[in-house]
């Protein structure tokens, strides 16, 4: 069986300014990232004939979470598109990238602009990170959230923490092991001029930070930011611009368990288990072939769970795998979250990791470049959403 995602490549990448409170509109940031990506792909906007984004515009989502909808971006750039989509449901934040690969493979478009934009830092202002649902005028909650929010479980931090705690219980995973992921991210962020937090983080800093929801302290949680990331998904025949396109080798989109936080069958893993297994089923490459990993770190434990799901560590052995941080360092056997991830570089919601995987495969990481990798994996999502991509040069 041909994995038809191989008919697509990522021919261009772009990223806006990233910051804590840029006070710029989401559309403004998106256009900045999009134009950079289009130029990087060796294209002009007249050649962009597809557009896709997560989660799409509007909806009852937290302030600053959604970027502009695809109609706004299409209109701002006067794009004429043969295919378009935006939406929240699908294989996590990478859904529009994967869908764009399929659209290109199907011949619906040649060059798709795919973006993710957040303005959460500006939206939150100087206030605390808010809880979900608290703005409901009648304090009533509906749909799946009725099973969680009445118990003051207002944040994904709470929901993920339940899984992390069970993982600790079953496998002896420690806070120091989770800390190794946060400290690694911060060290790598030192080589990323756009990262939000770049000063070194020690294990003492990590362990002494205020507790958010056990076992997560402050540094287990990613940092809200403003910024936009864009990529161009093209037909693999496109030669690209001055930087060669990155090839898509395999995608993972599956979810085979009950798709909710409370009823999922295994409290030590999540939908990442199924997406990762499906991705490996679509390629001859193996985990040992991967030379750089950009794995979702909305919370530190999610990265550990992705390491296990993707087969870099056996089930339950993610903790010992990352312990001490040597193995996952830039010069280690599996360089991990090389731009600082969301924990230190900012919560670009999966797309920062995707951007960095392309940077690494093109050898453009500068002081944070992890050798000359030929194979990279990107993973996004936690809980009942997960998507992953295997990329090559």
């Amino acid at each position: 069986m041909e994995s038809i995602e191989r008919r697509a490549s990522i021919s261009g990448i772009g990223q806006s300014a990233i910051g804590r409170r840029l006070n710029r509109s989401d559309l403004d940031l998106t256009i900045e990232a999009a134009l950079e990506a289009i130029a990087d792909a060796g294209l002009t906007r007249d050649e962009i004939d597809g557009i896709a984004s997560y989660p799409g515009g509007g909806g009852a989502l937290p302030p600053g979470f959604s970027g502009p909808g695809t109609p706004e971006v299409q209109d701002a750039l006067r794009l004429k598109v043969g295919w378009h989509m935006g939406g929240l449901e699908g294989p996590a934040q990478l859904a529009p990238v994967i869908n764009a690969c399929l659209a290109v493979a199907a011949g619906l478009a040649n060059h798709v602009l795919v973006y993710r934009t957040v303005t959460e830092a500006t939206a939150q202002g100087s206030g605390r990170r808010g809880g979900m649902g608290l703005g409901a005028p009648d304090r009533r909650v509906r749909g799946i959230f009725q099973w969680m929010l009445p118990y003051h479980a207002y944040s994904a931090a709470n929901w993920v923490a339940l899984y992390a705690q069970r993982h600790m219980h079953e496998f002896g995973t420690t806070r120091e092991q989770l800390g190794a992921i946060a400290i690694n991210a911060r060290r790598n962020a030192g080589g990323n001029p756009k990262a939000i937090f770049r000063e070194p983080l020690t294990m003492d800093d990590y362990l002494n930070a205020r507790m958010i929801t056990t076992p997560f302290g402050l540094y287990d949680c990613d940092v809200p930011c403003d910024g936009s990331t864009a990529v161009i998904v093209s037909r693999v025949e496109h030669a690209g611009g001055s930087n060669a396109p990155v090839k898509v080798n395999a995608v993972g989109t599956a979810i085979r368990g009950r798709p909710t936080w409370d009823q999922w069958d295994d409290l030590t893993t999540m939908a990442m288990r199924d997406a990762a297994a499906q991705m490996w089923s679509r390629t001859d490459l193996k985990p040992a072939d991967v030379e750089v990993a950009e794995l979702y770190d909305g919370f530190s434990w999610l990265t550990l769970a992705w390491l296990e799901a993707l087969g870099f560590a056996a089930k339950g052995e993610g903790g010992p795998f990352v312990e001490g941080g040597k193995r996952i360092a830039i010069d280690g056997e599996l360089p991990l979250n090389t731009s600082g991830g969301q924990l230190s570089a900012g919560r670009l919601h999966g797309f920062g990791l995707l951007h960095e995987a392309c940077v690494q495969l093109r050898g453009l990481g500068g002081e944070r470049q992890a050798g000359a990798p030929k194979v990279a994996v990107v993973a996004a999502g936690g809980g009942p959403i997960a998507g992953c991509l295997l990329l090559t040069r």
Partner: protein
């Protein structure tokens, strides 16, 4: 947590009324399949195991086990006192049915995986939220 503290509460529908109002009689109630005897949660028009539509609400014992938990320290909602415990509780009759809930009536530090608990309802307007406390 006091009985009158702020909570978000579910919008009760005909499909969920048995669950959210069973506490008025002190009962934790789930839909159960009359054909294969499977408990179904959240409520659904069809048994996900055998696809039967013959489902009826049935009370369970209200006893269960803490599958996992987290002690929340972050004041997401300034009107709610921290710390408090959020847990997933597996019900005795069918451990694949889990409830996200709060563990009350004990020190947060005493909650652990495997802890035996029983239901305790908190009345909020027209709903009775199933919380859990340690078994006596």
């Amino acid at each position: 947590m006091s009985e009158t503290e702020f909570r978000l509460i579910p919008e009760v529908t005909p499909e969920t009324e048995h669950f959210w109002r069973g506490g008025e009689r002190g009962e934790l109630v789930f839909l159960r399949c009359e054909s294969c005897r499977n408990y179904i949660h959240p409520p659904s028009p069809v048994c996900p195991e055998c696809l039967s539509r013959e489902l009826s609400p049935e009370p369970v014992s209200g006893h269960g086990t803490v599958a996992t938990y987290t002690v929340n320290h972050q004041p997401w909602n300034p009107s709610v006192k921290v710390p408090y415990v959020i847990a997933l509780v597996e019900i005795d009759e069918q451990p694949s049915v889990r409830l996200m809930t709060n563990i009350v009536g004990c020190d947060p530090e005493d909650v652990h995986v495997g802890m035996r608990v029983r239901v305790k309802f908190e009345e909020q307007d027209d709903v009775y939220l199933p919380l859990f406390e340690p078994e006596a």
